[in-house]
């Protein structure tokens, strides 16, 4: 019972915060709302017996990537009213393209929800298979990560290195290369 309440609360926060993110004029507000959404998602991961992923979500997404976004927004000091005039209108009242896009997004939600609720074996309670303690331990995640997925792990570390070098190079000023 309390689990269901918690799920609806967290899912509600995540969805509402994300919906508000795409509607804000000020990018700083968008970022803070997105951090709230990530926090709610982290709670959902804990409910799914994945504490390591939950903490990684907070550390990596909310604690690092969003700080990066925040720094860029602050340093660029972009004018808040940037964007076309019609960007500020309500999605359903925008000219042509905007209204069509908003309607398509709504249609996408309806389609996805329709499809997902008609798949077999999806209505069953989660957590029926697998031992919660076994798969939630960091030891189990680490064991599989470094044996079955070790190649992907090493490739990802090289990817981060490349991204780091690339970001420094791309953002450097013209004269100071």
């Amino acid at each position: 019972m309390s689990e269901t309440i918690l799920f609806y609360l967290l899912a509600g926060v995540a969805v509402v915060a994300s919906a508000l993110v795409i509607g804000q004029r000020n990018p700083m507000y968008s970022i803070m709302l997105l951090i709230a959404s990530f926090g709610a998602l982290s709670g959902l991961y804990i409910q799914l017996d994945a504490p390591f992923v939950a903490m990684a979500q907070v550390i990596v997404y909310a604690g690092a990537i969003m700080v990066l976004f925040l720094f860029v927004v602050m340093l660029l000091n972009a004018p808040q009213e940037d964007g076309a005039e019609w960007d500020r209108a309500h999605p359903l009242r925008r000219p042509g393209i905007g209204r069509f896009g908003a309607l398509l997004a709504g249609l996408l939600i309806v389609q996805l929800v329709w499809a997902l609720t008609r798949v077999n074996d999806v209505g069953g309670a989660i957590g029926a298979r697998g031992d919660a303690a076994a798969i939630s331990s960091v030891r189990a995640v680490g064991r599989v990560l470094f044996t079955d997925y070790v190649f992907a792990f090493e490739a990802t570390s090289i990817l981060i290195l490349v991204a780091m070098v690339g970001a420094v190079l791309l953002a450097a000023r013209e004269g100071s290369r």
Binding site: M32, M55, I59, A62, V67, V138
Partner: protein
């Protein structure tokens, strides 16, 4: 009252007690800092309020509460108020995953022992790290939303410093986790019980001396204290990110800083100094007294260092964090890994 509700009530009481003690800790640290600073400078420090100045924090808090709440006209309304809230919430929440005492039945009141600490999570080390890294937002938002160049520079520098020293901090955490074999702080502490040769306690301080030093330095830099407090230095940046704040909003920033200090000291005690294990007192269920003593020693060291050494310049600070501390932490990690593998510790 049956056992279940009694247990629930006691757990609520422990949570309330921990919160209350954290607030007291920040008040006490205000006094301790000024008194110790005074004694180191061969003067008395606060002396008038209460016996020997012991009620000075009360006077400070009352003064701050009665000041006028200012907000610069062009400051962002929501973020200006949200910033200190984030700082202080992250500071308090981080302590939730830190255990401060062994299991106790409160002298037979309960059937099964209850653990002393707000929550016992099996990824406690990660939780503390995650929540303290959320504290960066308080400072960044404070700097940005004040709409003032001193604040913005102070906020940016402070947050850049915090995220730089998080690397060394996390790497030393990884070394201790390797030794203990678990991410749960309670298990890390319990792995440090017992003695070698009968009298040397099995603290990780002796197995990881370099790691402990790196951790304490990174902790000091994380909390923007001591020689790493350039971003809030009075002489350079007026007051850094909290220049435009006054009254209660301002009061929350130093409180967040002191509670962060307390959390860092508590985690250092749990990881390196054996937590609540110590001679004699544990038999009577008073292990938490040892915990308090050890945390107190580390807090005293924080204050001691602040008033002894001069401040680092900002570029020296960043160089030190990236070029010296982080490589040292990585080498420490590699050596620890080799040690664990070879000796099957």
């Amino acid at each position: 009252m049956d056992q279940a509700t009694l247990r629930f009530a006691i757990q609520l009481a422990i949570i309330g007690f921990t919160f209350f003690m954290l607030i007291n800790a920040s008040a006490l640290l205000v006094l301790a800092e000024r008194k110790i600073m005074g004694f180191m400078q061969q003067r008395y420090g606060p002396y008038l309020v209460g016996p020997h100045g012991l009620l000075q924090p009360l006077a400070d808090i009352l003064k701050l509460l009665f000041k006028e709440e200012l907000r610069p006209k062009d400051a962002d309304r929501w973020l200006f108020t949200l910033a200190p809230i984030i700082s202080v919430t992250a500071a308090f929440a981080a302590f939730a995953a830190v255990p401060w005492g062994a299991e106790t039945t409160f002298f037979g009141l309960l059937d099964t022992p209850v653990k002393l600490g707000v929550a016992d999570v099996n990824v406690a080390v990660l939780v503390v790290f995650a929540i303290t890294s959320m504290g960066v937002y308080g400072i960044v938002l404070a700097g940005w939303s004040s709409n003032s160049k001193y604040s913005l520079l102070g906020g940016l520098r402070s947050s850049a410093q915090m995220i730089s020293y998080e690397l060394a901090y996390a790497t030393t955490l990884a070394s201790v986790i390797m030794l203990a074999g678990s991410l749960s702080l309670r298990e890390v502490v319990d792995a440090q019980s017992g003695y070698w040769l009968g009298f040397i306690p099995r603290w990780y301080l002796f197995l990881q001396p370099v790691g402990f030093i790196i951790y304490v330095i990174a902790g000091v830099a994380e909390t923007n204290r001591a020689p790493f407090d350039f971003p809030e230095a009075e002489q350079e940046l007026v007051a850094g990110y909290n220049t435009e704040y006054s009254s209660v909003r301002f009061a929350l920033f130093p409180q967040a800083e002191y509670i962060n200090m307390t959390t860092m000291s508590a985690v250092a005690t749990d990881l390196y100094l054996g937590g609540w294990h110590g001679p004699l007192l544990e038999r009577f269920g008073l292990g938490w007294v040892w915990f308090l003593i050890k945390v107190g020693i580390i807090l005293f060291t924080y204050i001691w260092v602040r008033w002894t050494v001069p401040r680092y310049r900002y570029d020296q600070l960043m160089q030190f964090g990236w070029k010296w501390l982080f490589p040292a932490a990585v080498i420490n990690l590699i050596v620890t890994a080799a040690f664990v593998l070879y000796f099957n510790v």
